[in-house]
């Protein structure tokens, strides 16, 4: 099944390519400095000069949205990549490590999962302070247990599969079978989860900066921009709309792309 035959998926991949470009070379998209404030033009509506209008400090909103692309993608990708690696290691340990390791790791995962995500992140931010890398660590921390669980579940499910037994009859040793056959096949679902998860990470990251706990001002972060727009939206709708649209569009594109990958993967899933 080809991506080319599904317009929605095609669109999502194209949009993601555009986003990556905007993250790497923001100047391609906007020549204005996102932090330069023009006091004469605070809260002016969208116009030819300011495509998305200006915010309460007179900064060009379009430039700030573009600047936010790099930050959001960074948070999304870094957090889910971290969680993926940590989750895989923990998940494999939890499934294969022997009775004692199994119990200990499972209890630890349960403990982490029992605390609602946002509370945990709030605690982490409180300890580490607010900022970009702290956000990444916090989001990674709350998504890791979920990934670990998925990996553990897959490993347990595949453990009894015939093709692993067949590999044993060929003469591979146990560690060789785990590395060559078990882990690569167990990774499928969690890889898809991590792809879609980078969208979720962006969402959580923007929620955090909405609460004031993410990357600090004057960094252009979409959630923070939405938060400050609250004070003004009776008079200016554009600061409340465009950053939100940006978050939605980004997460949407990542999700659609991830779901397409999932369909491709299902054709190859071990029974």
């Amino acid at each position: 099944m080809s991506a080319l035959r599904r317009p929605g998926t095609m669109l999502a991949f194209v949009f993601l390519a555009v986003l990556l470009l905007a993250a790497a070379w923001p100047s391609l998209f906007s020549a204005t400095d996102p932090n330069s404030a023009d006091i004469q033009q605070t809260l002016s509506p969208p116009s030819a000069e300011h495509w998305f209008g200006t915010d309460q400090n007179g900064r060009d909103l379009y430039a700030r949205v573009i600047a936010g692309v790099r930050l959001s993608l960074l948070i999304g990708v870094a957090a889910s990549a971290l969680a993926l690696v940590a989750g895989t290691v923990i998940g494999v340990l939890a499934a294969q490590g022997g009775r004692a390791t199994n119990t200990v790791v499972n209890r630890l995962l349960d403990i982490l999962l029992s605390i609602p995500g946002l509370l945990l992140v709030l605690l982490v931010i409180a300890v580490l302070g607010a900022g970009t890398w702290e956000t990444i660590l916090g989001v990674a921390l709350i998504t890791t247990p979920g990934y670990a669980r998925v990996v553990r579940g897959e490993v347990i499910r595949i453990r009894g599969a015939v093709f692993l037994e067949a590999a044993a009859t060929l003469g591979w040793s146990r560690p060789q079978i785990v590395l060559r056959h078990l882990v690569p096949n167990a990774l499928g679902p969690v890889l898809v989860l991590a792809t879609i998860g980078s969208g979720t990470a962006i969402s959580i990251g923007s929620a955090l900066s909405f609460l004031g706990l993410g990357p600090q001002a004057p960094t252009a972060e979409w959630g923070a921009m939405l938060s400050s727009s609250r004070d003004y939206f009776t008079v200016a709708w554009w600061p409340a709309i465009f950053p939100g649209l940006a978050i939605t569009a980004t997460v949407l594109a990542i999700t659609v792309a991830g779901q397409f990958l999932q369909l491709r993967l299902e054709g190859r899933a071990p029974r």
Partner: protein, 548 residues
């Protein structure tokens, strides 16, 4: 003779696929008709069209489609529902998945009664019990309150049949009703269906198994690629087949007189299959194997109880038994996948079961396996060339040399080089099994354990694979331990046979001896239960035996 079912020129299509291309059939009241064909022939679709359940996205048209007097051409869904269950009953294979696992057997049967209101509400429960008794379920009151997974395979299938006949339909359609069952249970279910026929219910049986068909049907229709290639009274078609496909099908069935000949069409019919001379050296030996498994609740089951066997070079040892007989566990012990609690296995004279993992791995290349479902034995990510080359990778053969050997192996199993880059999921069942055999041959083993290698294949493909295995044995001198529940196949391939029941070997010896002069009563029961092709018996019937 009024026809219960009159179908003329039925066409069923799914988008571009034309599954049924103009079939006509007639079923008279009280008659039993069978549609025989392999997978993809369109037999199931035909049967389901008689219920308006051809499937999603199907277009059905016919010149005539009459069911129990009702004109069903272009019938709206609401009117179909009055036919389903009430005038026509439907039985699928494998009651474990064909009955709702979350509802009791009694509720499932009762659903029919309640839907059609054939019995007043208050009497539904007692009628359910009566029906269960009618189909031969012991302790029907207790069984009605149980769930499908709590019943044995045979009882489940009886319950499924009970739900199909509950509203007293004039026609019963059964789609492979015995395929998931053991031979002895299958015989009982076929008896049940024959008994229903005696009460005046017409039967339309769909099957791939000619022997099953011959024991139940009056009239048989042979289907291939959406059309009926031959039809007629059962005896006539089976004894005197006209169409080449029918003849090919019949020739492919491993029956008694076919032993020693090729099953698949090659240079004509009844071509002899050269058998190798059996060597004297013992390539595989097992002594007094015992294996016990623990069950939850502090219980245990002895899966293998004192099993011994010997296999010589170029020999085929058949292991036959029903489910629960322990034959699969024996295979796993022979392969070293489990260690026996007692007893030893030795490969080529070298100790096998007793040695440490590392030594075992060295010997692994001498004993390989072919599974029933090849697809599940392959790493889903691997294309064919990687699968076949994997044993070479284990042995440390450098990449360049592997390609040559893989090409050689593909040639040996009769596959073209163009399958190399494909994934097993894209291949047919027969091709996949050939890939599995190629992989097994790669390390030049002495023994190949074949665990139900043809049970999941169509009859004609099965014939090809069996011939291939025989050819390979003649060429390479490899020995087989051939495990199967199908007596005909075992008779065809084996030199010696082990009959297993409940973990023990009840009888063993030369295949002709065991099949013609069985000494243990279980062996006799097994042989008696096998449905025979009329006049072409799997085993010759003695005068003292009664036809099944």
């Amino acid at each position: 003779m009024t026809s219960l079912v009159e179908v003329e020129n039925l066409h069923v299509g799914f988008g571009k696929v034309h599954a049924v291309r103009g079939v006509s059939l007639r079923v008279a009241a009280g008659q039993s008709v069978a549609i025989v064909g392999e997978s993809g022939s369109g037999k199931s679709v035909t049967a389901r069209s008689l219920l308006g359940l051809a499937g999603r996205g199907s277009t059905v048209r016919a010149d005539r489609l009459e069911i129990d007097g009702v004109d069903a051409c272009g019938l709206p869904e609401g009117k179909w529902r009055r036919i389903r269950g009430r005038r026509v009953g439907f039985v699928l294979q494998d009651a474990l998945v064909s009955l709702d696992p979350a509802r009791t057997v009694g509720a499932e049967i009762g659903e029919v009664l309640r839907t059609h209101g054939t019995v007043p509400r208050a009497d539904v429960d007692s009628r359910v019990v009566e029906l269960l008794r009618e189909v031969g379920v012991p302790e029907p009151e207790a069984r009605a309150a149980q769930y499908p997974h709590q019943l044995s395979g045979g009882l489940r299938q009886r319950a499924l049949i009970a739900s199909a006949i509950a509203a007293g339909p004039a026609l019963l359609i059964a789609d492979e009703p015995t395929t998931a069952l053991d031979v002895t249970v299958q015989a009982q279910i076929l008896q049940l269906l024959a008994a229903r026929k005696a009460t005046g219910t017409a039967l339309l049986l769909i099957s791939h198994d000619l022997a099953v068909v011959s024991s139940v049907a009056d009239h048989v229709l042979v289907m291939k690629d959406g059309v009926f290639v031959e039809q007629g009274p059962t005896r006539a078609v089976l004894e005197n087949p006209q169409h080449p496909y029918t003849r090919q099908l019949l020739a492919a069935v491993p029956v008694a007189h076919a032993r020693g000949t090729r099953l698949s069409p090659s240079a004509g019919e009844n071509v002899a299959q050269p058998r190798p001379v059996i060597g004297t050296d013992v390539v595989l030996a097992a002594n007094n194997l015992v294996k016990t498994f623990a069950l939850p609740g502090h219980q245990s089951v002895k899966a293998v109880d004192d099993v011994s066997l010997e296999l010589r070079a170029s020999e085929t040892l058949g292991v036959v038994g029903e489910s629960g007989s322990g034959k699969t566990t024996v295979a796993r012990l022979l392969l070293g996948l489990e260690r026996p609690d007692q007893g030893t296995v030795s490969v080529d004279g070298a100790p096998w079961s007793a040695s440490a993992a590392k030594e075992q791995r060295e010997l692994r290349r001498r004993i390989q396996v072919v599974y029933q479902d090849p697809l599940s034995s392959f790493d889903p990510r691997y294309p064919v060339h990687r699968i076949v080359a994997e044993p070479l990778a284990v042995a440390g053969v450098p990449r360049a040399a592997r390609r040559e050997r893989v090409a050689e192996l593909l040639g040996q199993v009769g596959l073209d080089a163009d399958v190399l880059g494909r994934r097993p999921g894209q291949l047919s069942g027969g091709q996949r099994q050939r890939v599995a055999i190629a992989r097994a041959l790669a390390p030049r083993p002495r023994v190949i354990i074949c665990d139900e290698p043809v049970s999941a294949l169509d009859v004609s493909i099965q014939a090809q694979v069996l011939d291939l295995l025989a050819d390979l044995q003649a060429q390479l001198g490899v020995s087989y331990v051939f495990i199967s529940h199908h007596l005909g196949v075992i008779y065809h391939v084996s030199d010696r046979v082990l009959v297993m029941k409940d973990g023990r070997v009840v009888e063993s010896g030369d295949v002709e001896q065991i099949f013609h002069h069985p000494s243990h009563e279980y062996t006799r029961a097994l042989l008696a239960a096998v449905p025979t092709l009329d006049g072409l018996a799997v085993r010759p019937r003695q005068s003292s035996e009664v036809a099944g």
